[in-house]
Amino acid sequence: MIDTVVQVELPVDETLAIKKHRITPQSGGNRKRLSIVTGIHGDELEGQYVCYELSRRINEHPEYLKGTVDIYPAANPFGIDSITRGIPAFDLDMNRIFPGSTNGDMNEYIAAEIIKDLTQSDLCLDIHASNIYLTEMPQIRINELHRDRLLPYAKLANIDFIWVHGASTVLESTLAYSLNTRDVPTLVVEMGVGMRITKEYGNQLVTGIFRLMQELSIWEGPVDEVKQPIISEKPEEVAFLNAPVSGIFIKDTCHGIYVKKGDHIGSIVDPLAGICLQNITAPATGLLFTIREYPVVDEGSLLARILIK
């Protein structure tokens, strides 16, 4: 069943609606509920495939479904339609306005209604795709404030890596923070890259979602074995590599591999002068879990992140 979560009338002959697909058991079943949200950042599309594939696989065997699965594929439809990370017309990051306000402006109102709709969930996944600049290994990011509650779920999600990061006031306006403080355990998945779909990662996460559904007694069908993720809990375990100069970054390696300190990662070149400005090497030994995908870099642009071994 397709439901409208919230809708707003626009100035010229159009209604903006946030929709969800609710999948319920054929008969009976329990009151458990899993919610999948994606598209808060309009240029992150990895979650689109996950939403599609999840409902496709459920619908192949509806008899195994014992609880409710709610799929919200487009929290920011304007952004998705216009290849815009934020909310166009407002130049606003939607993941900085939660929990919103029913008395607030259009965006705050939409945010508040989304939160209201999600609060009865037993578990929520908010699927992101890094951004258009970086490719990420499938990972779950957890605010240290919610570590104990979320870690057991995150371990079942069939992702490669769990990153427990420090609290920050800025993150208090994310969907995940708002839900976690409202007692809805919410996992933030980051995987792949903006503006693209990486089917392999999508399939990997869908397997994890079925494992989580089994854990919540929402799914009684067979479930594949899930990966043991690497868990990082200390800030000093992650090394950041930022561009030392502005230029064009030529990537010579892939994310998801182990690198040694000093290993060649790529180079920053100047196509005008035809020279290499800087060889880029690994600042530490470990797992290269993030790599720059977008070639144009300013001094300071993030090139890679390494989980130090």
């Binding site: 707003v8 009338e9 626009l10 100035p11 010229v12 002959d13 990370r85 934020g86 407002f90 130049d91 606003l92 900085r96 008395n103 607030g104 402006d105 259009m106 705050e108 109102y109 951004n131 600049y133 006031t169 800025v170 993150l171 208090e172 306006s173 950041f240 930022n242 100069v245 502005s246 230029g247 064009i248 100047d270 005008l272 144009v296 870099v297 300013d298 001094e299 300071g300 642009s301 993030l302």
Partner: protein, 309 residues
């Protein structure tokens, strides 16, 4: 007057990114004024340019007090202004959400760090700020209630209003907040406009700053005394929101006094021209902010009214 490059990044295909400062007088870091940080803040830049001109004249007339140094940074983000993009060119981040900055971090963190390093020890700090929604404000000084704010000092600008508000989660990364944390008496000055230039409002802001400098004995200047500022708590400003979308036809203007029940604006249908809604004032008061774009979404705060006592 001395013109200095405070921060610089070498670029690939553009001229170097430079933050330029204008210094007047010498001695203690007395007062620093920062203009535009976003690409659409033309009025903020314009007001600073007038201030630079005025201070040059005062310096020639030896009316800057000895031992006092004044620093003006008309624009902390020329790259965005020059291409008419609101936020940072490559990654769309906001320099005014990156303070105090990080010199080894991402590009805009480096810019914020470079700027903050140059300005963090000033006794007084003023930023020409802008609102994210299109509209006209009454000129005012805005202060965050951080516990460090000095209201009596804010009144010395002689602007009509001093507005106090509670910090929101993202405020901790703004220049104003970090200035206050570092011991600077920090003020945000709002003139009437952002993208459009208002000559009279820029003049008023320049006069207010000169007035303030004169009262702090930084310059020898007989400023127009200005207003006896009214101090308003942000909570006491009444937002009047649209219930529908359409063409926005104001029946009043910023600065006008309104009575409870008086007509503030009409909304008309964008296709048929039919009246869709009328907006009435819920209180007696003064229009402090008015929306000024031709169309409006529903739930938009189109008026902010300061209630009459």
């Amino acid at each position: 007057m001395e013109r200095n490059t405070l921060f610089e990044i070498k670029a690939l295909y553009r001229d170097n990114f430079r933050v330029t400062g204008f210094t007047f007088g010498s001695g203690d870091d007395s007062i620093c004024i920062v203009g535009s940080m976003r690409g659409n803040e033309n009025q903020q830049l314009y007001a600073c340019s007038k201030l630079v001109k005025k201070l040059s004249e005062l310096e020639q007339e030896r009316r800057i007090r000895s031992g006092k140094k004044i620093l003006i940074i008309p624009c902390a983000n020329p790259y965005s202004v020059n291409i008419r993009k609101r936020f940072w060119t490559i990654d769309n981040t906001d320099i005014n959400r990156m303070f105090p900055g990080y010199s080894l971090g991402e590009t805009t963190q480096r810019i914020s760090a470079g700027v903050f390093e140059a300005i963090k020890n000033y006794k007084y700090g003023i930023q020409f700020a802008s609102f994210y929604m299109p509209g006209i404000f009454l000129p005012h000084v805005r202060m965050m209630k951080t516990g460090y704010e000095n209201i009596d000092l804010a009144k010395e600008f002689g602007l009509p209003y001093v507005v106090l508000h509670n910090p929101r989660p993202f405020d901790t990364t703004t220049l104003n907040y970090n200035w206050q944390v570092w011991g600077t008496n920090a003020f945000s000055i709002y003139t009437t406009t952002t993208a459009a230039i208002s000559e009279s409002s820029a003049d008023q802001a320049v006069e207010a700053i000169l007035n303030f400098m004169s009262k702090q004995d930084i310059i020898d200047y007989r400023a127009d005394e200005g207003y006896i500022s009214k101090v308003v708590d942000g909570h006491d400003i009444i937002s009047v929101r649209t219930k529908k979308s359409g063409f926005f036809m104001p029946e009043t203007a910023a600065g006008k006094k309104v009575k409870k029940g008086s007509l503030l604006a009409k909304l008309t249908d964008t296709y048929t021209g039919e009246l869709k809604d009328e907006i009435y004032s819920p209180v007696n008061g003064t229009i402090f902010f008015m929306h000024d774009a031709p169309m409006v979404y529903s739930n938009t705060a189109v008026f902010k009214i300061i209630q009459a006592e």
